[in-house]
């Protein structure tokens, strides 16, 4: 994308293959996207489409088979240990399962002190407790009540807020949130999403929001990328892609999103399984041609 400042984090035609020979799984095929300060990119797709593989490559948990990951324009595979440490601080992750991602044997205070001690040499020892309090206030939890508690004493939504505070403690520039609300109750989901959006704007974070729920993607993100079978099949401005989908798979996905205005009994909206199967089969093939539907709205074609 031209005319924009250098993205904080960018994947440039990145491919990840697991295994080899005929049994190889192409989890990510020629993936390119970039994260900008203060903007959110939603990566949407069904389970097995390669969303989490992309997240793990962005976290440098997997090394890509091909292609480059650029951090502020510099390829990360040539990074020195100091630069790698800087990357580890700057890119933080929020996991799907708030019940499994906090250590049950430690208090909430401990979970927040650790990243401060490790990643924030600028904070003096004496100021750590105050910083922990400030972090908890930032995610709208009461520090007096929450700090001495253990994870099992908190609800799922509270735990996810602690996870966000833990990610913020390292003063990140990018947050990768992998389905941060899919295990939360509907009534607390929006609160967590609103919090993420607020943090993104206030702290000028680049947010990679991974989800299978396309409606929340619209709620949180400015940009969207729809993935299927390891490829990003359509991407661009979130409103343009959702209101005017061009790729058959995006259309299929949108038509299946639960919509209270559409009743299953209405024969005109019936989704034919054989059509869905055909779209899946075609979308799984490598599609190299990229078509610009509109400014900031692109689609892949066979």
């Amino acid at each position: 994308m031209t005319g924009q400042p250098t993205p904080i984090l960018a994947l440039d035609r990145v491919t990840k293959t697991f295994g080899h020979g005929p049994g190889a799984v192409h989890a990510a095929r020629s993936i390119s996207f970039s994260l900008h300060a203060g903007r959110a990119l939603a990566l949407v797709g069904e389970s097995g489409s390669g969303k989490t593989t992309c997240a793990r490559m962005a976290m440098r948990e997997y090394m890509p088979t091909e292609g480059k990951i650029l951090f502020k324009g510099e390829p990360v595979d040539r990074a020195s240990p100091t630069e790698t440490a800087r990357y580890r601080r700057a890119v933080q992750m929020i996991f799907q399962d708030p019940f499994a991602s906090l250590n049950p044997a430690h208090t909430i205070a401990y979970h927040l002190k650790r990243p401060l001690l490790l990643h924030r040499p600028d904070i003096k020892r004496a100021e750590i407790d105050a910083t922990v309090r400030a972090l908890l206030q930032q995610v709208k939890l009461d520090p007096d009540i929450v700090t001495p508690k253990y994870p099992h004493e908190l609800s799922g939504g509270q735990r996810q807020r602690v996870n966000i505070a833990r990610a913020l403690a390292a003063k990140p520039e990018v947050i990768v949130a992998d389905e941060p609300t899919s295990m939360l109750d509907v009534s607390v989901r929006l609160g967590v999403l609103n919090l993420l959006s607020e943090m993104k704007q206030q702290m000028k974070l680049g947010l990679l929001y991974i989800t299978h729920d396309i409606a929340t993607a619209r709620y949180v993100a400015e940009d969207i990328a729809v993935m299927y079978a390891g490829q990003i099949v359509e991407w661009g401005n979130v409103g343009k892609v959702i209101d005017n989908p061009a790729h058959p798979y995006t259309k299929l996905l949108l038509s299946a999103v639960p919509d209270p205005d559409i009743r299953f009994d209405d024969p005109s909206v019936r989704l034919r399984p054989e059509d869905a199967e055909e779209i899946r089969r075609k979308s799984a093939l490598t599609q190299d041609k990229i078509v610009e539907v509109d400014t900031d709205h692109f689609v892949r074609a066979a």
Binding site: V186, L190, I242, P258, D259, F264, L271
Partner: protein, 267 residues
Amino acid sequence: MTAPLLSVKNLTIDYIGEEKDFRAVDDVSFDVAPGEVFGLAGESGCGKSTIAFAISRLHKPPALIRRESTILLNGRNVLDLDDKGLRDFRWREVAMVFQSAMNSLNPVLRIEQQFYDVLKTHKGMSRAQARDRTAEMLKLVDIAPDRMRDYPHQFSGGMRQRIVIAICLALDPRLVVMDEPTTALDVVVQREILQRINELRRSLGFAVLFITHDLGLMVQFCDRIGIMLAGKLVEQNTAEATYGSPQHDYTKQLWASFPSLHGGVLL
């Protein structure tokens, strides 16, 4: 309205604790007509799954159903059934699809064998009869009958879920209880499965008690909806009314927590 198939009256269920009891279901009453899809919506912990378990009498201590409760199926009180009555009642009259049902298939048995287990136990069918019935049921859920010789791992998650639904329907139950049947699946597969169930209930005439937290999905699929909050049924109405003119504040709040695809939130 015709006589209800299922009639739950004053259902109260406590989880007995050491110090105090926790009331999971508090004086809940609702009816489900034959062939109807009735939805129960609410947050986790509101008691909706506890109701589902109670209807099949699958609840275990410390859950205790209080004495004033009745669950009538075709006029018979499920809570009075003895062991033999219960065996005849389960699966034949009320079948249940669990939350992660696709993981409830036995991984070391062929699909055919898992159908045979049910058909032999409940109907005394022979191998050949069971095979015919299995083929028939698999066709209903759009799976090629020749795949009955396969093992569960050879199917995708959505296909496994459809197989579980086929096993559920194999004995022609009058009521199918579905507790979050598609939560673990992506939206396209979810749509395919629920659309199929909707067609099947029209042709076979079974009723469905559908439990989920996704209100939008519920309005698409259900005829009537009950909204639960902390063990109480706070609102009960047709799907259109629950969506178009929600009465209870909690229902309105619940709607407001769903982002809309078209921007903003629903309502």
